[in-house]
């Protein structure tokens, strides 16, 4: 009985000990455990797998994936960060830049601005193609000159009052349609996601006149192409009290965990601790600093329950990003399957 429980624990919990983490790797491969059916079974996977959406806001999405393995969950996370394509400024043609910001710094900053353009409408640029066609390039123009304000008060020192256009924001970038883009995208409005990104500061007489080409790229090439502010996951915490904990010990226990995790109930006049919501815990392992409590609690994580948190930069909504990431993984598999088939044909 105890042995059975031990294997259960080894199979589906990652245990956080005082000085290390145990049972980290997945061990449920066929042949490891006698009596367990571990071979891959699509039907069993489909029965056990579920996705629960917890919270969705404009740019963030928090959802749970239950019944999947670390390798695949990590693959989705890696693809979200580095392989979902977006459009970003790649080439900056500087016609005039008399500002304090150097050309290359200005170009670097322009590249990092997220552009609200659906990358699925565009193609990748062919390698070696310097010009860019209308199917793979978006052209933006930034033309701004700073002037002195003749109506300003004599002694004012507020730059907003003294000068016109002294702050260059991303809202000053305008889309210049190439070729037949006006027909291809009649009601599209390509602009940076945020209007208030400060690009440079100017003083009277300085001007910036640049033309920018946006291309489609992936985060692996340059981080400016990454569509997520961040995409991360954590495993669902699982706190078990090995013995009933009462009175003062219960109070200390409640303080050891994040608020809301442990609640104290009054049973028969005594205060008894109970695990209310393990999900909220951030596992600071404060329990292990208390000699009396550290052997009464088991801190673990559920091995196949992933709490994903995806925050998009605003180019695409986060649920679209997750769908695209899954499709990209499918595309990779398909590519190798095609290769295999074409090689074995010969």
């Amino acid at each position: 009985m105890a042995a059975r429980r031990g294997t259960e624990e080894m199979r589906d919990r990652v245990v956080l000990g005082e000085f290390g983490v145990r049972n980290v790797h997945t061990t449920d491969f066929p042949g490891n455990y006698p009596g367990y059916e571990d071979a891959w079974d699509q039907r069993r996977f489909e029965e056990a797998f579920r996705v629960d959406v917890i919270r969705e806001e404009e740019d963030t999405l928090e959802f749970d994936m239950v019944g999947i393995d670390a390798a695949i969950a990590n693959a989705f996370r890696r693809i979200l960060l580095a392989e979902v394509p977006t459009m970003a400024v790649e080439k900056v043609f500087v016609y005039n830049n008399t500002s304090i910001v150097q050309d290359e710094i200005l170009a670097h900053r322009l590249g990092l601005i997220p552009i609200r353009a659906d990358p699925r409408l565009f193609e990748y640029r062919n390698q070696g193609d310097q010009e860019g066609t209308e199917i793979d390039t978006l052209q933006f123009q930034l033309k701004i000159k700073c002037k002195r304000n003749p109506q300003a008060a004599k002694e004012s020192s507020d730059p907003d009052e003294l000068y016109f256009n002294h702050k260059v924001y991303s809202k000053h970038m305008t889309w210049v349609p190439l070729g037949n883009q006006t027909d291809l995208f009649p009601d599209a409005d390509f602009r940076p996601v945020h209007d208030d990104i400060l690009i440079a500061l100017l003083r009277p007489g300085q001007e910036i006149d640049v033309l920018m080409h946006c291309v489609k790229g992936i985060g692996k090439d340059h981080a400016k192409f990454s569509p997520v502010a961040t995409a991360s996951y954590r495993l669902l915490p699982d706190i078990t009290l090995l013995q009933p904990i009462e009175d003062e010990a219960a109070e200390t226990l409640q303080k050891c965990f994040s608020p809301g995790v442990i609640e104290i109930q009054n049973i028969n006049g005594k205060k008894v601790a109970r695990v209310a919501n393990a999900r909220l815990d951030t596992f600071s392992r404060e329990v292990f600093r208390h000699e009396g409590l550290k052997n009464l609690v088991r801190l673990a994580r559920v091995r196949n329950h992933y709490i994903f948190s995806v925050e998009s930069t605003g180019i695409l909504p986060p649920d679209v990003l997750v769908s695209e990431a899954i499709k990209i993984l499918m595309g990779k598999c398909q590519r190798f399957l095609n290769e295999l088939d074409s090689v074995s044909m010969e």
């Binding site: 997945t26 491969f29 066929p30 042949g31 571990d38 071979a39 891959w40 699509q42 996977f45 489909e46 797998f49 579920r50 996705v51 629960d52 959406v53 969705e56 959802f63 994936m65 999947i68 393995d69 390798a71 695949i72 990590n74 693959a75 890696r78 693809i79 580095a82 392989e83 649920d319 997750v322 769908s323 899954i326 499709k327 993984l329 499918m330 990779k332 598999c333 398909q334 590519r335 190798f336 399957l337 290769e339 295999l340 090689v343 074995s344």
Partner: protein, 96 residues
């Protein structure tokens, strides 16, 4: 984008332009196959983006078979995950 290794049932595939993203998930799917005796992958050098993926099968099964099955299974998993995710999103939005 791939080349084969040695004979019959122990083969090392060299997958170009790949890294842990596909390597680890494919390794997991191939390990779930009871005919596979050994499956592993490694990245030869972090500057080059290619992985060595080795499969050794029990018995006389040619090693390409578990590779193909692993890829198909992974596609099946992704398809199911995609469907479940989109259904859950729709339900979540409907009941909001």
């Amino acid at each position: 984008i791939q080349a084969d290794g040695t004979d019959g049932d122990c083969v090392t595939f060299v997958l170009h332009d790949e890294d842990h993203t596909l390597g680890n998930s494919l390794r997991y799917m191939v390990m779930k196959n009871p005919d596979v005796e050994f499956c592993g992958y490694c990245i030869t050098h972090p500057s080059e983006s290619k992985i060595n993926f080795r499969i050794q099968t029990r018995g006389a099964l040619p090693a390409v078979e578990p590779f193909r099955k692993g890829l198909n299974d992974l596609m099946g998993v992704c398809q199911h995950v995609l469907n479940t995710f989109e259904t859950s999103m729709k339900e979540f939005r409907a009941q909001k």
